[in-house]
């Protein structure tokens, strides 16, 4: 009894312990694979569910928006800015050389039609919604948007010009489904 309780008995012919080691390693590896396979459904459970993914595109009618105005629509639970830029604002956005910007990007690649600017309205610093959608709101030093949380200034192309935010306001995937309708997502 004492022999079995204390591992290998004398004369078992198992001097290197290789057989036992193999069994321990094989069952341990099998257990690890099983645990990982069992963990995956619990991890994936946290990912967006089918009904959330189904809501991932938004149709917008932009016809009522006058030049110089902007609207905010919701896409995937976040604000999307749709702004009809004036000729002066477009000119202002295109006047600067991209290389001089913190996050160099040409205005032409950020729009499909120069008049219409579509942006995800979430500050790239820490996720606040910048001001500037209404003419009465602060638009920052560059006439675009201003984030009141930590003072980031965006220009009329939604590019970061001043403040702690590292990136330009991102452009969501969208397309014009008609002259005045946009599908975001």
């Amino acid at each position: 009894m004492a022999d079995t309780a204390h591992g290998r008995g004398p004369g078992s012919g198992d001097h290197g312990g290789s057989r036992r080691d193999f069994l321990v390693l094989a069952s341990g590896a099998m257990g690890a694979v099983g645990a990982a396979a069992a963990a995956w459904p619990f991890i994936h459970y946290w990912n967006p569910s089918a009904d959330v993914l189904a809501l991932s595109s938004t149709e917008v009618d932009v016809a009522p928006i006058q030049e110089g105005q902007a609207i905010t629509v919701t896409w995937r639970g976040r604000p999307v800015f749709v702004r009809r830029r004036t000729a002066a604002e477009i000119e202002q956005a295109r006047a600067i050389k991209p290389a001089d910007l913190p996050d160099p990007q040409d205005d032409a690649v950020r729009v499909k039609k120069p008049e219409w600017l579509v942006l995800i309205g979430v500050c790239t610093h820490l996720g606040c919604v910048p001001l500037g959608q209404k003419a009465t709101e602060a638009r920052g030093e560059y006439g675009g948007w201003f984030c009141p949380c930590h003072g980031s200034h965006y220009d009329t192309s939604g590019r970061i010009r001043k403040g702690p935010a590292p990136k330009n306001l991102p452009v969501p995937p969208y397309e014009f489904t008609g002259d005045t309708t946009i599908r975001i997502g």
Binding site: M1, A5, Y45, W46, S49, D51
Partner: protein
């Protein structure tokens, strides 16, 4: 390998200040267990594993469940259809409840067969019955949460049991409901308690284990270990035996989850709750059926409720109802037969509980109910006085090793 001698300096540092590693080593590794434990002794650790599975899947379900009368049913259907692997986690939880009771009932009958409730394990047994009661309350409230027809009417019927209380019955039921019928307030408090009670169960499980480890496990022979020659360390001998049993159990569990997930369920619970229409035939989940049968066997409302709760509470008195000092039914030839009659009686009660209370079902239900109490209150106490038990072996090792022979069967065959 003991923690104080561990090679790891951090483990030694912690263990010196809070000897948790020494404790775990003592209780989970070197813990001496009788060397003759059979597979019937797997069901305690299995119950613990199912409890963990239930808590984990339950916490995950709560992440997508909405405890509101207008959304509860939809949120469960959303978990089933839209949430990633929601169907799997819900079916694990749903069938896990049935598996939990299956395992615990086997555990309980094993204790009855081998007299595990007798001195010095009475408190261990009582704590087990407390766990069973908490499990029943938890399971009942969990069944209400999907807010289907069976949920609603099960909640109505079970809470109405308390209306049998003289004088204060109706105010108590109103208080339980938080209104004048089972409604949103009821659903919310049931959700809250359904989340709380499993953690209370975990607490009582720790007390159960504490009491267990005071004297160690009973064993199939039912006599105490007489020294180190009668026991083996828990690890690796019983960890590996428990692990193997767990593997077999998980196969059965997975079989239900993947191939018959609604085997234990009622189709009516996939109809949203309707407070204006009672389903034609309402039954509780299978694990409550024997007690439901006892409730219905007695024509008087208050007596029926008392009998139903009494049938469970009476189990707590079993250590004192049983007057025999011999633990294992192996050495009690008459008790062994009555034990199996009692098992059949419980199964009959379950069968009656699943059927409508009419015709012969009523008669059989009453006989089976009467026998349940006769077994516990008359047969068990009398048997201890009247029965002549077989001679007990001198030690756990004797029936195995005998007089030098390795196996009794082999030894017997060799004899002329």
């Amino acid at each position: 390998m003991s923690a104080p001698q561990s090679q790891n300096a951090l483990i030694r540092w912690i263990d010196h200040r809070m000897p948790i590693f020494t404790f775990m080593h003592h209780e989970l590794h070197e813990y001496p267990a009788p060397k003759n434990l059979s597979y019937w002794w797997n069901f305690g650790s299995l119950a613990g594993i199912v409890l963990v599975i239930m808590i984990v899947t339950g916490i995950w379900l709560a992440m997508h469940y909405t405890p509101h009368v207008d959304y509860a049913f939809q949120s469960v259907e959303r978990i089933m259809r839209d949430v990633n692997y929601g169907w799997l986690i819900r079916y694990l939880h749903m069938n896990g409840a049935s598996m939990f009771f299956l395992v615990v009932y086997i555990h309980l009958f094993r204790g009855m067969y081998y007299g595990s409730y007798k001195y010095p394990r009475e408190l261990l047994w009582i704590l087990g019955v407390v766990i069973l009661l908490l499990m029943m309350a938890t399971a009942f409230m969990g069944y209400v949460l999907p807010w289907g027809q069976m949920s609603f009417w099960g909640a109505t019927v079970i809470t109405n049991l308390f209306s049998a209380i003289p004088l204060f019955g109706d105010p108590i039921v109103t208080w339980l409901w938080g209104g004048f019928s089972v409604d949103n307030a009821t659903l919310n408090r049931f959700f809250s308690l359904h989340y709380l009670l499993p953690f209370l169960i975990v607490g009582v499980v720790f007390l159960h284990l504490w009491a267990l480890h005071r004297f160690g496990s009973n064993n199939p022979i039912g006599i105490d270990t007489k020294g180190p020659q009668d026991s083996i360390p828990f690890h690796p001998y019983y960890t590996i035996k428990d692990a193997f049993g767990t593997g077999v159990f998980l196969l059965v569990f997975a079989g239900f989850v993947f191939f018959a997930p609604n085997f234990f369920g009622e189709p009516d619970n996939y109809i949203p709750a309707n407070p204006l229409v009672t389903p034609a035939h309402i039954v509780p989940e299978w694990y409550l059926l024997p007690f439901y049968a006892i409730l219905r066997a007695i024509p008087d409302k208050l007596t029926g409720v008392i009998a139903m709760f009494g049938s469970i509470l009476l189990l707590m008195a079993l250590p004192w109802l049983d007057t025999s000092r011999v633990r294992s039914a192996t050495y009690r030839p008459i008790y062994k037969q009555f034990f199996w009659v009692f098992v059949v009686d419980c199964l009959v009660l379950g069968y009656i509980g699943a059927n409508p209370p009419e015709g012969w079902f009523i008669v059989i239900g009453r006989i089976a109910t009467a026998y349940y109490f006769i077994h516990l209150l008359i047969i068990i106490p009398l048997l201890g006085k009247l029965e002549r038990p077989l001679e007990l072996p001198a030690s756990i090792s004797t029936p195995v090793i005998g007089s030098g022979a390795a196996q009794p069967q082999a030894a017997r065959m060799e004899k002329p």
